[in-house]
């Protein structure tokens, strides 16, 4: 009986009053609910708050006071110092170097990885051939292999790739080329490890577009690339934005690949940050450390707060089957 009435929402429930019960904003239930959520929100927001507050204090105030207290005297000196003069080892040119390194790593990695993954996803969705689904399945399984298993052999692959390219460049008189330890080595690694999730994202998106569009393109004589550039690309701006969000935050936050596949001169920001904060020499300047930490977190935070719902969509799309 209950099921029958529940399944027909148009019919009210019995003769009594209809619609939701008017809610009392201060019912004990609501106080509990909002109270819990506010406490949770404070807990999650606290570290960001502590970072900001600490980075705006002077060292004497930090030694005297309470880490949760707002600064009595606001100073931007720690920010300036973290950006331009903080030391890692013998280099004292601050985090700015790491920042620009990260930018130089980020731009080509995002462009290359998204370009390759979008074409791959399109081919997998619309131009299947015998075996393509099999490779895709292995690609998805590969996403779960711990990176540590593949790290060392990839070093060898990159070295050999460099030697292979050098074979041609030396023959052409252009000198030797290195891939391992350079920016492009890292770009290749980011492209490889971004591939499973991005390909899945693009494949599912292209597969969800109406097939008639594809067929119409075929009838009009468009081929693989014609359909991709003239029909698919103009329709897929949202998914490209989602992919960019995923890759920008993912590559910016990377630490492991940066440590292994680059050299100290081109270490990304996360690696340099860790070296600055966890260096054992010198007096610890906590305000500078927190300013540096905040600076490193700034790019993904801006991406997160600006993109809002798209960020959630990105991770959900990535997570659902990733």
């Amino acid at each position: 009986m209950a099921d029958a009435t529940a399944n027909t929402p148009a019919v009210g429930i019995g003769p009594g009053p209809r619609g939701a019960k008017p809610r009392n904003a201060f019912a004990p239930r609501n106080i509990m609910l909002y109270g819990t959520l506010i406490i949770v929100a404070i807990y999650y927001a606290l570290p960001l708050y502590v970072m900001i507050v600490t980075s705006l204090k002077g060292m004497p105030e930090i030694r005297m006071g309470n880490i949760f207290a707002p600064p009595l005297e606001v100073t931007f000196e720690p920010w300036v110092k973290a950006w331009s003069t903080a030391c890692t080892g013998i280099n004292c040119d601050g985090l700015s170097r790491g920042f620009w390194n990260s930018v130089w790593i980020l731009v080509p990695s995002v462009v290359v990885s998204i370009t390759i993954a979008s074409v791959t996803g399109y081919a997998l969705a619309n131009w299947k051939f015998k075996g393509s689904e099999f490779f895709f399945a292995v690609l998805l399984i590969g996403a779960f292999i711990p990176y540590q298993v593949m790290l060392y052999p990839i070093v060898l692959v990159l070295k050999n790739l460099g030697d292979g390219i050098s074979f041609f460049t030396v023959a052409l008189g252009l000198g030797k080329v290195q891939v391992y330890g350079t920016l492009w080595g890292l770009v290749i690694v980011h492209t490889i490890f971004g591939m499973p999730i991005l390909t899945l994202l693009f494949r599912n998106y292209f597969a969800s577009l109406p097939e008639e569009l594809f067929k119409a393109g075929r009838v009009d004589g468009a081929g693989f690339w014609g359909i991709f550039f003239r029909i698919m690309l103009p329709m897929s701006l949202p998914i490209f934005v989602v992919a960019m969000i995923l890759q920008v935050t993912g590559i910016w936050n990377d630490f492991l690949f940066g440590v292994i596949y680059t050299k100290p001169e081109i270490y990304p920001m996360t690696v340099q940050l860790n070296n600055i904060v966890n260096s054992v020499q010198g007096i610890k300047e906590y305000n500078v450390n927190m300013a540096a930490t905040l600076l490193t977190g700034l790019v993904p935070l801006i991406v997160y707060f600006v993109s809002g719902k798209l960020f959630v969509r990105g991770i959900a799309a990535g997570a659902v089957k990733g």
């Binding site: 929100a41 690609l139 711990p146 067929k215």
Partner: protein
């Protein structure tokens, strides 16, 4: 007629439209199978190379070399299971495994419970839902390095929580997990949960929102308390989302590396070692390659033990997905 012929052969759409007569079209034989759909095959070369060279090739390479005595350079002189015997006799590795077990169990339970509870709270048609969600999810945009450094600062005994509580008058209050052999892993756990529960919450919330509104009407009519509905009706209904979350959390746990590096660098002593750290130190610091390969192979085995039952449950019955 021609139209239906084209659409029925979807999947293996032929090379450039050679317009044959209607009668021969569906069974027209192309010159060579290899060159059919050529553009698509060329487009998938990066993916196929990634799968074959990196995911399959490099993994097999590492597993094979874990049975050798490679030190500074990889070489193929097999020593059977000697590396594994050494691995399981090594104190640091045993500490890593113990830490991983504690961190993994706690992280899994707390992520699921907190993630689900928060999702259920946000699902109660509250105001400012977006604000709360934004605050709870933002740590997920930050890197593990930033997360680790912030929590290192908050847990700092001289300036952080311990000092603040002592200043309030509780002179004997002790909260210094990062410098205690016994509790350091829980210090890392706090940071890890702060970073990762937002994602679980978002997944669970999406799952809860996907449930038919009629279920709620039915449970209201039956007079089932709200919390009981969540526990006994909603949880079984969002099983796929929970399984996805479990897999995601688990694969994150096995990989945990940067967080520990930033927060404690594996210390004090070796008490916050993790398998990923062990692998990295053996391979890139101690020049003891084969030992690192053996340890990373064990990580691979651990992931396989988690994944194979999941893959079997999820995809065992079905033929295709997507």
């Amino acid at each position: 007629m021609a139209d239906t012929g084209i659409s029925s052969s979807s999947g293996a759409r032929g090379a450039p439209g050679s317009v044959a007569t209607q009668a021969t079209l569906p069974i027209a034989r192309k010159p060579s199978r290899l060159f059919r759909n050529l553009a698509s095959k060329i487009a998938l070369v990066p993916m196929i190379l990634t799968v074959l060279v990196i995911f399959v090739g490099c993994t097999i390479w590492t597993v094979v070399h874990s049975f050798t005595s490679s030190k500074l350079l990889p070489k193929l002189d097999f020593v059977g299971l000697a590396q594994y015997e050494r691995l399981w006799g090594n104190d640091r590795w045993m500490v890593s495994i113990k830490n991983l077990a504690v961190y993994g169990t706690c992280s899994m339970i707390f992520s699921l419970v907190i993630g689900f509870t928060l999702a259920a709270l946000l699902d109660r048609k509250i105001r400012f839902e977006n604000t709360f969600r934004t605050i709870i999810l933002y740590p997920f945009a930050l890197s593990f390095i930033v997360t680790g450094l912030v929590w290192q600062w908050i847990l700092n005994p001289d300036f952080g929580i311990e000092k603040v509580v002592r200043d309030l008058g509780f002179e004997s209050f002790v909260f210094d997990p990062l410098h205690s052999d016994q509790f350091v892993i829980y210090g890392i756990l706090i940071a890890g949960l702060w970073q990762g529960t937002g994602l679980v919450m978002c997944l669970m919330l999406a799952g809860i929102r996907g449930i038919d509104e009629d279920i709620w009407k039915a449970s209201r009519i039956e007079g089932i308390p709200v919390w009981k509905t969540y526990v006994q009706i909603i949880i079984p209904m969002i099983r796929p989302v929970i399984v996805t979350s479990v897999v995601l959390i688990a694969s994150g746990i096995v990989k945990v590396y940067d967080l520990v590096v930033a927060q404690t660098s594996g210390g004090p002593g070796t008490s916050s070692q993790m398998p990923a750290l062990y692998v990295m130190d053996r391979m890139f610091k101690d020049q003891n390659l084969a030992q690192g390969f053996a340890a990373s192979t064990m990580m691979l085995v651990a992931v396989a033990i988690i994944l194979i039952p999941w893959a079997y449950l999820e995809f065992g019955g079905k033929k295709s997905r997507g």
